[in-house]
Symmetry: C2
Subunit: 388 residues, 2 copies
């Protein structure tokens, strides 16, 4: 009998991979489910994408293998993007690595730094892939709590009390998902200093910096970040290009080259037309983002109405693609999520899939049009009449 | 000081990632290098690709996240492809997993089955990624020799004599790269039986089945393969779509699902227009392959002339995208490869990058047009006059 690897025994199929099969089955059974669960931008990508792509397809080498580092134009465009939006200066030869999405970067970076048994500081609540990848490498997730009381930032005193002797890496994610907390520069500066003092690689997963933020954040705006930090960035949310699979690793040359070494042994360069198109899209100016954010602002108002109807509490200052809303009594929100799915045909993500600190919360996505949000609100009013 | 993982200490940057930088530098210095080193198809992809792609780009969900299993149309098209070309029947729901290239599949499969310290039977000579990925997972490559005397198939008696107690997986690759040996059904059947008897997962890496073969081979044409084997397939060579990053894992549901579990935790579904286009292209009939192979046949004649000029020996029965040619004295071919690069402006791959059993060989790619091959022949005649 051929045995699977041990890593597989502790690996679940990704939550959404399973749950969306159930949603698909319900749809096929005739249910008109509205999906508020997933942060997959439904809005159109920039118009120029189509024309840029068609031009890029005609290039002589469009279908040939590409270099692992990506084309110069793409790395250059990202360097300009960092300069224009974050006021951060990067070296385009050494400090930027295009990826097939930032999710891929979580595995590549972990492989470059983690040995079996190493510990990794992971936020609770947080994106489940941090822990899943850590476990796939037989390293050990060491959860640290984020709480509403501290605006979902790590409690430094608690971190310092932990046994850090085996901790090799720490994941942070600001602007934060699922909570929507924006980056608090002072608190994150303290985390950088903490990481430096303890030889911990600090990685900021940063896909939401352009969505509903006052001012785009990059960890490299802070002091000493280049010595100890990496940042993952992505075009999925900023440009409605989730399926395009384009992300980036950013940081000092030594770290980036280590990740490149891993990457070059396990995949190949990105499809050239994607790279060309991405390098054009990155040059869009602030008007793109203000138009995008005005749509999300309007949708957020509707989600707030839905949350009010469900008597949930939430912050009106949140960033990113989600509203993170709490059952006022603090009870587990999973039951409510199931009721909404089965009795109101609305799929919402229960906060506990992001960790125990999320148990009392539901996460609502802004990737749904106003019409559907209005329908959701009506359904919830009916659902309340039925169930209460 | 932040330390890299141990796996990195034994990981080289992929050979071509390094070497092509050198070739690029030589070109920038004014050298007109002709690249016979890389199997990156230079011929155009099927014409319909462009139109299919442009239609697919216009779909409403073209830029949204996709399911990890791939779209139904793509899995179905691959199942039809296996039926039409290999006479192999597969279940499209459970036995087929689209990948972003078959190279990615080497890592995903290894992660699903290997623990630290497990041993993996790897061909010498063979594609360097098998050993690189094995080492990245802190598993142990256990090389088995392929020799010209046995038409580059494993010697079963030698395999049986090995200590197999820690062997978990075995890589084979027929039609074979770099040697060009076509699959010998009887010998591979024996390997399947050997794998079954020893609880070894057998993986056939199969990107060359449509190139210069008499009859396309799949391991699932052989008895009991479904119990013990997986197969990686790819569109890179069959359809001149190397940069497109589309490949497949094929095999029994239990194995494929294990790999899906890994995959869903480390990347996302493929770009929808790529999936749509790939599903159309897979439906091309035999005329596509006969036209493609007639070009490669003509080019191969020219490579044979070049090899003759260099007094190398080679088999005229070889399959795939390369000619594998030996220095008649059996001496190391790397010196000759360097001389060709620096003195004749021709990049050829020295066989030793595929393992010690390749030391006396050079690998010539068929991915170069007749004009350039004629120039190569002229250059080699001049080079011989200079150096002899």
């Amino acid at each position: 009998m051929i045995q699977f690897s041990n890593r597989l025994a502790q690996t679940e199929e990704y939550y959404f991979s399973k749950k969306l099969k159930e949603v698909k089955a319900l749809k096929e059974a005739g249910k008109n489910i509205i999906n508020l669960g997933i942060g997959s931008p439904d809005l159109a990508p920039p118009k120029a994408v189509f024309q840029d792509f068609e031009i890029a397809l005609q290039q002589a080498n469009a279908f040939q293998y590409q270099a692992y580092r990506g084309i110069d134009a793409l790395r250059n465009a990202l360097v300009q993007f960092y300069l224009n939006h974050y006021a951060v200066t990067l070296d385009e030869e050494e400090e930027v690595l295009p990826l097939m999405g930032s999710k891929e970067g979580i595995m590549l970076t972990s492989m470059a730094f983690l040995n079996e048994g190493d510990e990794v500081l992971i936020p609770n609540p947080g994106y489940p892939t941090y822990a899943a990848v850590t476990k796939l490498l037989n390293a050990v997730p060491k959860l640290y709590n984020l709480t509403e009381a501290e605006n979902w930032h790590p409690n430094l005193a608690e971190l310092k009390k932990m046994d850090l002797s085996k901790v090799k890496m720490m994941w942070i994610n600001y602007p934060n998902m699922p909570t929507g907390a924006d980056a608090d520069h002072q608190r994150i500066q303290e985390i950088i200093d903490f990481a430096l003092a303890n030889d911990i690689l600090l990685i900021n997963d940063n896909p939401y910096s352009m969505i509903l933020t006052e001012k785009p954040f990059s960890i490299f705006q802070l002091q000493n970040a280049h010595q100890v930090a990496l940042e993952l960035n992505s075009m999925s949310k900023s440009f409605n290009l989730a399926g395009f699979r384009t992300g980036f690793l950013v940081g000092n040359a030594l770290f980036v080259n280590a990740v490149l070494k891993v990457k070059s042994n396990m995949d190949s360069g990105m499809f050239l037309p994607i790279q060309h198109t991405a390098s054009k899209v990155l040059q869009l100016d602030k008007n793109w983002f203000s138009a995008l954010n005005s749509v999300y602002k309007e949708r957020r108002e509707w989600i707030w109405k839905i949350a009010d109807e469900l008597q949930l509490s939430y912050s009106k200052k949140s960033t990113g693609l989600f509203v993170w809303a709490k059952l006022k009594g603090g009870e587990n929100a999973e039951k409510l999520a199931d009721q909404l799915l089965y009795n109101a045909d609305i799929f919402v993500t229960p906060g506990k899939i992001f960790g125990s600190q999320g148990e009392a919360y539901l996460r609502f996505s802004l990737c749904v049009g106003i019409n559907d949000l209005q329908i959701c609100l009506e359904r919830i009013k009916k659902f309340k009449n039925k169930s209460l």
